[in-house]
Amino acid sequence: MKFRKIVLATAVAVTGASALVAGSAWAQAKEQYLPVLSYRTGAYAPNGTPTANGIVDYYKLVNARGGINGVKLLVEECETMYDTARSVECYERLKGKNGGAALIHPWSTGATFALTEKAPVDKIPLITTGYGRSESADGTVFKWNFPLLGTYWVAADAIVQAIGAKEGGMDKLKGKKIALVYHDSPFGKEPIPLLQERAKMLGFDLQLLPVTAPGVEQKATWLQIRQARPDYTLLWGWGVMNSTALKEAQATGYPREKMYGVWWSGAEPDVRDVGQGAKGYNAVTLQHGTDKSAPIVKEILAKLHDKGQGTGPRDEVGETLYLRGVVSAAMGVEGIRAAQERFGKGKVMTGEQVRWGLENLNLTQAKLDALGFKGVLRGPISTSCADHVGSGAARIHTWDGSKWVFSSGWIESDQQIIKPMVRSTASKYAAEKKLTARTPADCQS
């Protein structure tokens, strides 16, 4: 008995040690390795868990559909707790395993910043669907970053346009007061440059109200709002900050109809606790919102959850954060598919090849519909060497007390404002880093 125990312990120790030392040695053929950085524990777990479920479910669905031209996906999760240092550790642990990671979703602004410095060295594309750094839309400077489906600047611009439409014309915004209640971190500060630009153009007054992380203490902020009485309030919050803000708005008597959140502030966990108190609250959605009757949701339910192979609770399938996971995973998969079309169908792609694929996405509405995203995503989503976003469309959805409903049509963000801002911020970054912009030849590679 004792001997068996010793043997067992040795075996365990050896497995553990070899996993540490020679993680990269286990290459496997014909499986595309896709690591997932997720945060199912920690302060932001209520938001991180549905997202992670969506990603994993979509990869499972791709495998159930037969893989990408026959190449199955090998998925591994790593828990980051939304902590930048843990995210970097996870990234380092997973990047070289099983023949190398084809792409990484950092799922946190802090991690995005840290990994932006590492990805060019390791040649792994970073997909940040609707988050991360806005200036990374410029692919000539940020070769490895892909803020697909819109950036925070797209979101902020869409909100300004939606407010303009509500007022009956963009010129009506002149003299209006708009407050931005934001999470005091790089994430919360992202929309400020765009809003300042818009305020200058349209003549509204922008008031900046930072809230210290994690955002449970907002009494002073809402006192300021009560005094200043802004015409509209934008909410750039995350996790527990959102429901706190809505409760404070309710207590202050600030009309929720005049509040617009970013998409991180516009999912079910943010408003569910507030319930009726959040009725009328709006949030921008980059491409998709909650859609429980979408074909992709039905397919996931039928092929995975009905067979007991789904991830997470069944009734969360199709909610905003879950769909965000699904959609971002789909973008990665389509990048791999595009790469296979050039570098060989049915082959396992490297990070560099996937980068080319992500840079040459051409997802027409027909293709998106065929994938099951009818009504969820709007085509065309097409990227290029210079444009790593692919789409600038957004919608507004409104909480009716029990569910999110779309309250606007598609809003195209104004690229004439965003493009020059992206260009100038990216070139400032390039100058700081002494990077030269990519040449046309590099774009073809």
Binding site: L8, A11, V12, T15, G16, A19, L20, V21, A22, G23, S24, S38, R40, T41, T49, A52, E77, C78, E79, M81, T84, A85, V88, E89, E92, R93, K95, G96, T109, G110, F113, A114, T116, E117, K118, V121, R133, D184, S185, P186, F187, K189, E190, I192, P193, P210, T212, A213, T425, E432, K433, K434
Partner: protein, 358 residues
């Protein structure tokens, strides 16, 4: 049998004052250092160096700094995260604003910024003690968080408030590969740990310990409490500041103020308590316990479960990791309240008598 000091005679004062008076200790430490400098970069994988050893080295360095303040001088501080942040942002500002400034002077200047900040927030220690001081130093943490979020000058007016460094070089050699980063951190740690060890053995170290053990008695025998306490704050925050700069420059590359949140203050305090208060060696044990153990557990648990044919979810692994980690902290503190370093020295004591204990 192997660990016996019979026949090792000290014939000079310098022999009597060595850091490791027993020859076997010297050999072991020498071998360890050689292993760390030569064998590890040759053998260890990129992941092991980048994600485990570099954080371990940097946190060991920070723990040495915290140990000087908390362990040797008895001034409980919860501002260590702030000192790290000041070191990181200080080094960043010197590095970016003075073009051509080499990395090592930038790190030292960052450390000096942290020294000034540490002395400033050490002033309350002249009036308050113990837990009261811990709460007072917590102010440093909040102040640093506020400063680096709101004063745009420190972050070079970047729109997002996140800063980054790149193209690091030491003596013309690029600090890019895992091995070069690891060796750089190791060299910094080795130099500073040696200095710190000698400092705590010297007159000033004795003053710190006297203040820690009973400050009134220390004052009576002629130790100036102000000088002793503030010098402990200065030395400790310099080391923590350098560690913070290394964490930002070498490990993260790009960071925001939340990279040095109050969490880190607590973590560093736990490191020195678990590792052993008043022991340079203990700082290494503590850092290993807090930095390496959770990562090891998170990889070990799925492997163990796999052995029994069970597949456990990521959530279960991370919850189990937290529980086991917490359990181990409690267990270690019950078994040895003086920390892992004390266990180590008990082990050595027993080895000296082995195999004939009396």
């Amino acid at each position: 049998m192997l660990y016996r000091e019979n026949g090792q005679f000290k014939t000079s004062y310098s022999a009597d004052q060595q850091i490791f008076p027993i020859a076997q200790d010297r050999w072991l430490v020498g071998a360890l250092i050689a292993l760390a400098f030569v064998a590890v970069p040759l053998l260890a994988s990129d992941y092991l160096m980048r994600a485990i050893l570099i954080p371990f080295l940097i946190f060991s360095l920070a723990a040495v700094g915290v140990n000087i303040l908390v362990g040797y001088c008895g001034q409980i501080s919860l501002g260590s995260g702030a000192f790290m942040a000041v070191g990181a942002y200080g080094a960043y500002n010197f590095f970016v604003r003075l073009p051509g400034l080499p990395l090592i002077p930038a790190l030292i200047l960052g450390g000096l910024c942290a020294t000034a900040f540490g002395i400033l927030f050490g002033l309350p220690s002249l009036r308050v003690r113990g837990l009261y001081l811990a709460v007072a130093t917590l102010a440093a943490q909040f102040f640093a968080d506020w400063m680096f979020l709101r004063i745009k000058w420190f972050t070079m007016d970047t729109p997002s408030g996140s800063v980054a460094v790149s193209n690091l070089q030491v003596f013309g050699l690029p600090l890019e590969s895992a091995a070069s980063k690891y060796l750089f951190c190791l060299a910094v740690l080795a130099v500073i740990a040696l200095l710190a060890k000698n400092l705590v053995r010297s007159a000033i170290g004795r003053e710190w310990m006297a203040i820690r053990d009973m400050d009134v008695a220390a004052a009576v025998i002629g130790i100036r409490p102000m000088y002793a306490k503030l010098s402990a704050f200065a030395v400790s925050s310099f080391i923590i500041g350098v560690a913070g700069a290394l964490w930002a420059f070498v490990y993260l590359g790009a960071w925001e103020p939340s990279a040095f949140s109050v969490d880190y203050s607590f973590r560093l305090l736990f490191m020195v308590i678990i590792g052993g208060l008043g022991s340079i060696m203990g700082s290494f044990f503590g850092a290993a316990f807090i930095v390496v153990l959770p990562i090891a557990l998170s990889q070990f648990l799925p492997a163990v479960a796999g052995l029994f044919g069970v597949e456990i979810s990521t959530t279960a692994v991370s919850h189990a990791e937290l529980m086991i980690f917490g359990g181990l902290i409690v267990w270690f503190l019950i078994v040895e309240p003086h920390g892992l370093a004390k266990l180590w020295s008990i082990g050595k004591q027993k080895l000296r008598l082995w195999p004939f204990p009396h």
